[in-house]
């Protein structure tokens, strides 16, 4: 239990962080509104609303803005709490939630075709030109070339791709709910986790990005959902192993899940030890499936890396012309590339931290957070503020989710400012 002084300090830090997060959220909201009047494309990631019919764009913006107001936010928070409770307790709710994601992807198919393999998406395996499946693993070629061809008499290629994308969105949503359910405590948090992961941008990969993006995204979410529970078991690691192995065989980006899998493997082995019964052996075999997948996919992956990735991304056939690398407009793009790379390698952080922590002879901050606690921020519309929660590993007898402001024997609202907050907190 934290001392009262530490609790107060946490509270103050939480307040400052909350203020920064609120300002950031409101700033983004205003910026997106203001960019509707900007005629340039400097911030083209934020000016989507400019291209929507004004009534539709501003209606959606207004819903977003209204959620920040306490009078709208309070009932919204209650609704979120109910949704979270339903997602925790009822399978029908989980299927319904996932169907919403699948339906959105299916109905709002990408008709612009700017991003991704639009010709293949429309015409399937019947379209063949050099480079169609240059970067594809055999499983991807089978799924996106041979299957649509075989089924072309029954299902048009475009419909086949839409069904695959909808199924991927469905799987992504189920994984997101699983992650939300794995953290015990407030049901609002369960709903927010599921909504953020499902609808926080990932749905877009299921409509217009490269062919394998939606399925890869679902694999990542599935792998994460199986290692999300605080008490790792060989059973859940086995499921994670299957998801990682399929991801590796399906696309070379699946190799990026290996750090996550290794960390989960080490943690499970330490926490659970090895079991010798038949079920335990089966789980262990499934948990180690990524090793077999790596061996099976190594040759194909290496040839794709050598023949395509190294040439296109590291030199030889750059997508940006000579002399354009260091122009003023190209520099931010390069910086974004590096940031994307850093983001991709985030799962490696625990390994890195573990190594540096061991060298220093003490556990690092990151390790302690990953093992014992994780800090999560959730937006609570009812209070128009972000709440900081510490999901700590408590004694088994009590809830695992405890607000940072909780002090001995008291269950105060997180980062509450006097009595106002507690009266607005969803019951």
């Amino acid at each position: 239990m934290p001392s009262a002084a530490a609790s107060t300090s946490n509270l103050q830090q939480g307040s400052e962080r909350n203020r920064a997060l609120i300002l950031t959220a409101l700033g983004l909201l205003l910026l997106r509104g203001l960019l509707c009047f900007d005629r340039t494309m400097w911030l083209w990631g934020l000016n989507t609303q400019r291209f929507l019919p004004p009534a539709l764009g501003w209606a959606l913006w207004s819903i977003w803005a209204a959620a920040c107001h306490a009078r709208i936010g309070a009932p919204l928070s209650e609704w979120l709490a109910k949704l979270g409770a339903a997602l925790r307790e009822r399978a029908v709710a989980r299927v319904g939630f996932s169907l919403v994601a699948a339906l959105l992807v299916f109905v709002l198919e990408d008709r612009t075709w700017f991003i991704g393999d639009f010709l293949i998406r429309r015409q399937g395996g019947s379209i063949t030109f050099s480079g169609s499946f240059l970067q594809a693993m055999p499983l991807e070629k089978f799924l996106f070339s041979r299957v649509p061809l075989q089924l072309s008499n029954f299902v048009p290629a475009a419909m086949f791709y839409r069904l695959i994308d909808a199924a991927s969105a469905f799987a992504l949503a189920l994984a997101a709910i699983r992650i939300g359910r794995s953290i015990e405590g407030n049901t609002v948090f369960t709903a927010l986790t599921a909504i953020t992961i499902t609808f926080g941008g990932h749905l877009l990969v299921a409509t217009g990005l490269g062919k394998p993006a939606a399925i890869s995204c679902a694999f990542v979410a599935a792998a994460a959902s199986f290692v999300a529970p605080r008490r790792m078991s060989w059973s859940s690691l086995a499921k994670c192993g299957v998801a990682v192995a399929l991801a590796i065989v399906f696309h070379r980006s699946g190799w990026l899940l290996l750090p996550c899998w290794i960390v989960a493997l080490i943690q499970t082995a330490r926490a659970q030890g090895l079991t010798r019964d038949a079920r335990g052996v089966r789980h262990l075999a499934a948990a180690l499936l990524p090793l077999a997948a790596m061996i099976a996919a190594a040759r194909e992956t290496w040839s794709i890396l050598v023949e395509y990735d190294f040439q296109h991304h590291l030199g030889g056939q750059p997508t940006i012309g000579p002399g354009e690398w260091w122009t003023l407009s190209a520099l931010p793009l390069r910086a974004t590339d590096l940031l994307n790379l850093a983001l991709l390698l985030l799962p490696s952080l625990p390994l890195l931290e573990k190594k540096t922590g061991r060298r220093r002879g003490r556990g690092g901050c990151l390790r302690s957070r990953l093992r014992g606690s994780s800090r999560c921020w959730s937006f609570v519309p009812g209070r128009a503020s972000f709440e900081t929660w510490t999901c700590s590993r408590p004694p088994e007898s009590r809830s695992r989710l405890s607000p940072v402001s909780r002090s001995a024997g008291q269950h105060r609202r997180p980062n509450s400012s006097g009595g106002r907050a507690s009266s607005r907190w969803p019951r």
Binding site: M41, Q49, W64, T112, W113, L204, T319, I320
Partner: protein
């Protein structure tokens, strides 16, 4: 969630989505040469796929500024035939032939442009050159496939 929904809606509405892509290519900041080439090439290809000929004509015009490849020149020829700018179509096919003299599509397109312009000498010369391409079966097959896909490139059935 709202930004995701906005982006899904923009890409779902082809008009709004294309407007965004055009703004990306033509607005500030100025994109790199190759990015602009690829973007206008995409816009050309897409416009032709959906048979939006005025957009195809203007997009291919832009794309050729960055990459005057025979393929894009032929695409501009097809687009210009469909917007009845036969003189510009003829010029496009002539430029394509300069770059790729063995292109069946360009010779057939030139013959078609000549026919539309009432220039029978140009039409007959282009058809004669098309029939002399080697190997003849391949040249004929490519020309026929081109006309099947874009019947308007030549009025009627060419004799070659």
């Amino acid at each position: 969630m709202i930004p995701t929904l906005q982006l899904l809606l923009v890409y779902h509405s082809s008009g709004d989505g294309i407007e965004r892509v055009v703004a990306y290519a033509s607005g500030l900041p100025r994109r790199t040469h190759s990015e602009l080439g690829q973007t206008w090439d995409f816009l050309s290809l897409r416009a032709i796929t959906v048979r939006d000929w005025p957009s195809a004509a203007s997009a291919t015009e832009q794309a050729i500024r960055y990459e005057p490849s025979p393929r894009l020149l032929i695409m501009r020829g097809v687009a210009n035939i469909n917007v009845r700018d036969y003189a510009k179509a003829r010029d496009s096919y002539l430029q394509a032939i300069q770059k790729s003299p063995r292109s069946s599509e360009a010779w057939l397109g030139l013959a078609g442009a000549g026919a539309y312009l009432g220039d029978s000498a140009l039409r007959d010369t282009a058809l004669a050159r098309l029939s002399r391409l080697r190997p003849p079966e391949t040249a004929r097959r490519l020309a026929q496939r081109f006309q099947t896909e874009f019947p308007e490139v030549y009025p009627g059935t060419p004799s070659f």
